[in-house]
């Protein structure tokens, strides 16, 4: 086969490829419906707390119901903003633990504080701003 014959043959083959592209099968409506049904089934669901439904307006003749609806609406708005119920629960635990440690000063923590500050006094007896006493004395003219 000469070069000319080969190029003619390839050009002819290209016409077959063009014809094949034009006669390509098209997905049936049934196939498209099946694929979309699969897509709907496999689609990841958004987290439930991410949706913020509009609060239902409480009737004006029921102030208790209105207050309850207002509280629920506030909670629904703030929970997602803070990261969801799990994060809010964690924050609440941390706050309670902090308050408990501050008021009771458990022995292990008091010991740790003594080592850090070099004083053996309780936390409320540590003078964090020693100059303040001088200032107060000077201010009162004593």
């Amino acid at each position: 086969m000469t070069m000319t014959d080969r190029s003619e043959a390839m050009a002819e083959l290209d016409s077959f490829f063009r014809a094949a592209r034009a006669a390509a099968p098209v997905p049936s409506e049934d196939l498209m419906a099946r694929i979309l049904a699969d897509a709907a089934t496999a689609q990841p669901k958004a987290p439930a707390w991410a949706a913020v439904p509009a609060p239902t307006p409480a009737p004006i003749w029921a102030p208790a119901a209105r207050a309850r609806a207002g509280w629920l609406g506030l909670r629904r708005r703030f929970l997602p903003a803070l990261g969801g119920p799990g994060v809010v629960a964690g924050l609440a635990c941390a706050a309670v633990a902090g308050a408990w440690i501050g008021f009771l000063q458990p022995a292990p923590l008091a010991g740790l504080a003594s080592r850090v500050t070099g004083q053996s006094a309780m936390l409320e007896q540590i003078d964090l701003i020693p100059a303040l006493d001088t200032y107060l004395v000077a201010d009162t003219g004593e």
């Binding site: 003619e8 043959a9 390839m10 002819e12 083959l13 290209d14 016409s15 077959f16 490829f17 063009r18 014809a19 094949a20 592209r21 034009a22 006669a23 390509a24 099968p25 098209v26 997905p27 049936s28 196939l31 498209m32 099946r34 694929i35 979309l36 699969d38 897509a39 709907a40 496999a42 689609q43 990841p44 669901k45 958004a46």
Partner: protein
């Protein structure tokens, strides 16, 4: 995102939208990708029903991988062609337990000679000639000359080198040319320009 704007969005952006719960993105992706997978599978399997099953299965795998899809690492279409190719290969293996390229020639159920080979007849003749090619040559030729992928894209789909793709398409085209030329008398276009 509005539906019209989605039709211009790249595949991976639509896949991210789908993973975030946007149902319209799935429709746009399906309309864009399903015809391509179906065309490829139909030419690989020569069986419309099986080609539809492969298309549905390939898209289902795309939906499942959507939440874990990492943008920029691969093209969605290339990944999908690779999945479709593997599904087709599995089906062809089940059909041909003796091996991919050791199968006997497909029986030709072509009708009698026609006065002139029209475009539709040419498409059918090419499909028959393609079905007689070894599988890997057929894959390479279909992806290159019918689906319009570049050689590097085909290399990614077939997991071979670009040089191997070039070799497969060249051999495939030579075999197609010889096959179609050898059957021109049967096809009844002897008076047409020779191939």
């Amino acid at each position: 995102m509005p539906y019209d704007a989605m039709t211009e969005a790249p595949d991976d952006a639509l896949l991210a939208l789908y993973a975030n719960g946007d149902g319209a993105a799935a429709r746009v992706l399906t309309e864009r990708l399903a015809p391509r997978v179906l065309r490829f599978a139909a030419r690989m399997l020569s069986d419309p029903a099986e080609a539809e099953d492969v298309t549905q299965e390939a898209l289902l795998r795309l939906w499942r991988i959507a939440p874990d899809w990492r943008r920029g690492e691969a093209q969605v279409s290339t990944w999908l062609y690779r999945v479709a190719r593997n599904l087709c290969t599995d089906r062809l293996r089940r059909k041909r337990p003796l091996g991919l390229d050791a199968a006997p020639e497909v029986e030709d159920d072509r009708p009698g000679a026609v006065a002139r080979l029209q475009a539709a007849e040419r498409a059918k003749a090419l499909d028959r000639a393609l079905s007689r090619l070894p599988d890997r040559q057929r894959e390479a030729v279909v992806l290159r000359h019918i689906e319009g992928l570049t050689n590097p894209e085909i290399a990614e789909v077939m997991e071979i080198s670009v040089e191997a793709v070039e070799s497969l398409t060249a051999r495939g085209k030579r075999a197609l040319t010889a096959d179609l030329a050898g059957r021109r008398e049967e096809l009844g276009y002897d008076d047409d320009r020779s191939i």
